[in-house]
Symmetry: C2
Subunit: 215 residues, 2 copies
Amino acid sequence: MPDDGAAAGAPRAAPDLPSGAPTLEARVLDQLFRSARTQNKWQDRPVPDATLQELYDLLKWGPTSANGMPGRFVFLRTPEGKEKLRPALSAGNMEKTMSAPVVCIVAHDLKFYDRLPYLFPHADARSWFAGNERLAETTAFRNGTLQGAYLIMAARSLGLDTGPMSGFDNAKVDQAFFAGTDWRSNFLVNLGYGDPSGLFDRSPRLSFDEACRLE
Amino acid sequence: MPDDGAAAGAPRAAPDLPSGAPTLEARVLDQLFRSARTQNKWQDRPVPDATLQELYDLLKWGPTSANGMPGRFVFLRTPEGKEKLRPALSAGNMEKTMSAPVVCIVAHDLKFYDRLPYLFPHADARSWFAGNERLAETTAFRNGTLQGAYLIMAARSLGLDTGPMSGFDNAKVDQAFFAGTDWRSNFLVNLGYGDPSGLFDRSPRLSFDEACRLE
């Protein structure tokens, strides 16, 4: 996958991470991983557009294959925008989604490779994908999904709660939002400030020995 | 997707995130996103197995669809383990991968749904996937990829550097490591402590207006 690539004179967000960065504090690991929950109810507290900009300006730094950045993000925060989504939602996801301050459609651009001459200028990376539809689609799906996970982690970093979902009709979303384009829906992420009264008890996780091998 | 689910008496890592968690400090956002780089050279500094256990014990909390956790992780840290991988690597990824202290094969279990009665006990979620091979495969790929991204973020949280890659022969990896099983390779992540002398200049990123829409 990356190759963060060499673009002479490209903008930098911050100096490179020094070798020997520390393990983050326990409270940070709790906020990002151990205490964070998928929320089903939301406080009546809006998410300003400026926060969505901050969110993107974090997630965009996460690594993708050949820096291709196929992920596309549609933030629905008006009643009209969310009504366009309603017919595609499954019954079980309806209420929590329609009541969320923001719903993000995590999508990807099947023609992401047309931006590679800009994003990965030191090789002819466009030619790896143009004309190879299957590789382009797999790469868009894999890397758009990675970027969706970066969005979840970036949201938690900003104190937002999330509610990711794949229980909806992708074809209906594509028709309603992406007709005539090369963007395709992947999954949804509700964004806001959670109301813990809607939480279930937390489900178990597979142990290291069940999910990992050492060789 | 999740639904973190309700498993009565399930183990908890930490109390739920309180509403109103803060935005994390700038140095933390740098370490996770803005300053973190995909590394191509590695310091001669090992990654203990205990750190890999810590890594999994963070990433496992990230959300997946119906808490299905299809991601599987094979950590190669012996010369023998890495030699099994060598024939599958593309030329451009060979040296940085063979010299990394640990290479993680991010994989997924196509039969992940057989664990749903344990992982998502409050509904018959297994029946959503059993007999629907296409949905199971898409769900395993999407959610295994999310978990691969959680691994990258968890590694950075522990002060590790990463080098994710999809430039390799998946079929050869599956043959060498997963023959006769339902596990399939997705992508690779080199893990260790980076040597910044191997870094390229950072590549540009798409702007908010190029990658996002507000509705």
